[in-house]
Structures are given as C-alpha cells and as structure tokens.
C-alpha cells in the first residue's frame, strides 16, 4: 500500500501527475497498475482529509520572549 505523508497540495500535485501519466498510456502495465493503486490511495486520502477536517481558529498574542503564543479566539462585537 502506498504510504501517504504529504500535504494536501503535494498529494493533489502527485495525483495530477499520476492521472496525466495514466492517460498518456505509455507506462508498462505493471507500472500502470502501481500508478493506479497510488492514485486511488491518494484520492481516498485527500477525500478523507477533507471529510475529517475541523477548522482551527486561534488568536495570536506576543509571548514572554515576543514569540507568538496561541490563545483561543473569542471574537465579540
């Protein structure tokens, strides 16, 4: 199984490349099968990332050393 450890953007780029390569149809069969398998796994992974994503919102404060410190954001009127 393909191991996926890439950002969404990297996965989409790889996916795009795989589909184009498959559509060209030049790769030998065993390579095509490997590409197909990888592509299918990437599609599943991207879909999963989207399905499971939960928005994270924080407010940034300057910490003790001036470095950013995240705090829960409570926007009010």
């Amino acid at each position: 199984m393909t191991k996926i450890n890439l950002s969404f953007e990297q996965q989409m780029e790889r996916l795009d490349a795989i589909v184009k390569q498959l559509e060209k149809g030049e790769a030998p069969l065993n390579e095509s099968l490997a590409l197909f398998e990888e592509g299918t796994a990437l599609i599943a992974s991207c879909g999963k990332m989207l399905d499971e994503a939960e928005q994270k919102v924080v407010a940034l404060k300057k910490g003790e050393n001036g470095e950013p410190a995240e705090t829960p954001f409570e926007g009010g009127e």
């Binding site: 950002s7 969404f8 953007e9 989409m12 996916l15 795009d16 795989i18 589909v19 498959l22 559509e23 149809g25 069969l29 095509s32 099968l33 197909f36 592509g39 299918t40 599609i43 991207c46 879909g47 990332m49 989207l50 994503a53 939960e54 928005q55 994270k56 919102v57 924080v58 407010a59 940034l60 300057k62 470095e67 950013p68 995240e70 954001f73 926007g75 009010g76 009127e77």
Partner: protein, 402 residues
C-alpha cells in the same frame, strides 16, 4: 490742518494695529488658486493665492503645514483659513494661513491621489512584485479587529469552504491614530515568526476616515515589504484603498477575501471524483489495450498449432538431406567416370598390348630385359616372350650396330 510726521515703523505698526483690530481680518476664509508655491527649508510654506483680478501673499508655518494631509500644488483651487495682518518690516500684508482645504475634492481625496501617484512611481504597485498566493494555504494570518462582523464572516466562510486551513487572528485596531502602527507591527510580526503562509488584512465598511489606516503610507509599505502574500480586504465593494493597489490580491470585502483565499471543499470533492473517474478510465483503457494485444498475439498460427514449427523444421531437414544425398551420388559417379578413363589410359600403355602387334620381349636367364645386342654373347640362352607363348633361343651371332 497739519499732518503728523511718523516714522516708517510707526506707520506700519499703526496699520498693523488697525488690521489686527478688524474682526473680519482676524479670522477668515479665502477662496483662490495657489501659485508661486514654495516650501522653504525651514518647513514654512509660501505661496500666492489669486483669482482672475487679484492676488495675495500667503504663508503657512511649519506647525500648521504638518497637519496637511495633502501637498499643495500650483493651480490647485483651495480655501485658505487664517488671518490677515501686516509684516511691519516690509509693510506688506499677507494671509497667515492655518488651514488649507482643497476646493471640490476633499483633502483626504487629494492625499489619496498624491500618495497613490507617488507610490506608483516608486513601483510599489508593479505587477512584477505581486507574489503568487498558495493554492491550499496551511495557515492564514488575519490582521484585523477582533471585534466586529468582518473577522467573524471571514472565519465562518474559511471554515465552510476549506476547514483544512488553520486561522490565526492577529488583533489590531483598524481605525484611529494607533491603527497604522499596529497594522504595520502585525504584518512585520507575522513575517518574522512566519505565523502563516497567507495574510488577510482589512476591515468592514465605514466612512473614508474610518478606512484611512489602509491609505497610510506605513501600512502600504509594510504590505509591500511582506514576504508572505497579502490579500487586502477593506470596506465594501466600491471602497478602494492604497492597500488594495499594493496587495498581492485585492478582495472587494472581507468575505470576498475568505472566498479568494481558499478553494471550495465541495468543488474539490467534485474534482477528486472526476480524477477518480479519469484514473479508472485510463486504467480500463490500458487493460483493454493489453487484452486486445494478447488476443491478437494468441491468434497467431504458431501459438494455435505449436507443432507447426517442428513440422516445418522437419521438412527443411528432409530437403537438406535429399540435397546432400544427390550431391554425394553425383560426386561418386564423377569419380567413377574418371577411374574408367584412367583405366583405359593405363591399359593402352600396357606392354602386353604391344606384343599383340607382333613385338616381343627378350629377357636373359636372370629375367632381365635385353634391349641391346651388347648385353648378349654367342651361346647365351635367351627367353623370347610373344603375345601368345614364348621361345627358348640360343644366340648364334651378335650383330652390333654402329
């Protein structure tokens, strides 16, 4: 009637007193066109205000001039506010101007156009300086007021469209004198600590004064210098600020900024399913091509009848064998003919053949052929062989040839 004799200073001071006690001259506003405009190194501004027939000299001191939000230019129609008095040293009167208001357009508008013009000439709005926005931002830094609808709208729309992106709010004041340095500080801070890969800065709608921070030169320059791409999102659709010109992308409103910043998840899911279809189709095509090729190859005769090859080779072998045999036979018959020929030649040379023609062979008692008379003497016994039979003879006489 006797005229009083005054010194020049006394006269000028008298006129000055008269003018300074006039209520109108103490505080008035004059309309006119600026000409002979000069800014002295002292920081004071000198110019002439004129209309079709008259002109008056004007001065605006550094302190008042520093409050101008635009730079006065020759030809500009203005209303000058101030008082008129005499400068006793040269007896000239002039308008001491405390405020200058552009005619027609508001002073903010003038300031806007002037700053826009200046920064445009410096190249701050050049397309070549615009940075590309990340397609799928990981973290968006929003620099705006933490109160108000704008920030909530942005968070809501970002969450709905693309919840993968983390949203970091850097709260700042967005109006008032503190707003520009706070916005500048937040932009620089975001860059220094790389708190996001995209910045959205802006605010909700308001009056031109409310939005003014985004026309502040410091803010505009901070946006220009930001290494993180910036989307400006100020006010409503028709509101345009100088930040909009310098930003890498201008959004009409904060909500619009959120829409432009991230892709839409539902569209992306559609894209993914279309990619899935394309992947499957491509694979299907590949497999059916291979299958077609396979059936094409397997229909060839050699695979249909695997012994055909052997049969073929067997036939070839037979044919070679036949050739070999016939060649051999021909060779043998040739040799045979040659043998017969040689045998015939040999036969022709045989001495026995000569006897047939009436010659004979004479040998002595030792069996040695006698070919010369000298080899024999009278009384020798010789053997004479004829074609048929032989004679035993005795030599009677030896006749020697000369």
């Amino acid at each position: 009637m006797e005229n009083a004799v005054l010194s020049v200073t006394e006269l000028n001071n008298h006129i000055k007193d008269l003018m300074d006690s006039d209520l109108l001259l103490m505080g008035l506003a004059v309309k006119g066109e600026i000409s002979n405009y000069k800014l002295y190194p002292s920081g004071h501004h000198y110019f002439t205000l004129k209309d079709a027939e008259s002109s008056i000299r004007c001065v605006m001191f550094k302190g008042n001039a520093s409050k101008l939000r635009f730079t006065p230019e020759n030809g500009m129609n203005v209303t000058a506010v101030g008082r008129v008095t005499v400068f006793p040293r040269d007896g000239g009167y002039q308008l001491y101007c405390t405020e200058l208001l552009p005619e027609g357009m508001g002073d903010l508008h003038i300031a806007f156009e002037q700053l826009k013009d200046k920064l445009s000439k410096e190249g701050l709005f050049d397309a070549s300086h615009k940075k590309p926005l990340p397609k799928y931002p990981k973290t968006i830094a929003i620099i705006t007021s933490s109160a108000g609808a704008a920030v909530r709208d942005m968070i809501r729309i970002l969450g709905k469209r693309w919840p993968l992106t983390k949203v970091v709010i850097l709260p700042v004041r967005v109006q008032g004198a503190e707003a520009p340095p706070e916005i500048v500080g937040a932009i620089r801070y975001a860059n220094r600590f790389k708190v996001g890969d995209l910045i959205i800065t802006g605010r909700g709608g308001g009056s031109i004064e409310d939005l003014w921070a985004f026309n502040d030169e410091r803010v505009v320059r901070a946006i220009y210098e930001s290494e993180i791409p910036v989307i400006s999102a100020v006010g409503h659709e028709p509101d345009i600020t100088i930040s909009d010109y310098v930003a890498d992308l201008r959004a009409a409103t904060p909500s619009n900024a959120a829409e432009l910043a991230v892709p839409d998840m539902s569209e992306m899911l559609e894209t993914l399913s279309s990619l899935e279809v394309r992947t499957l189709q491509a694979m299907h095509k590949k497999l059916s091509e291979k299958r077609a090729r396979l059936s094409d190859i397997s229909s060839r005769r050699v695979l249909q009848n695997p012994t055909a090859y052997i049969d073929q080779k067997r036939l070839e072998l037979d044919s070679v064998q036949n050739t070999l045999i016939s060649r051999y036979e021909r060779l043998i018959s040739l040799k045979k003919q040659k043998y017969i020929h040689y045998a015939a030649s040999l036969d022709a040379l045989s001495p026995l053949k000569v006897l047939g023609r009436g010659y004979s062979i004479t040998t002595n008692e030792n069996g040695t052929a006698v070919s010369s008379a000298e080899a024999a003497k009278v009384g020798d016994r010789l053997n004479v062989r004829l074609k048929s039979g032989a004679l035993k003879c005795t030599v009677d006489e030896v006749i020697l040839n000369r």
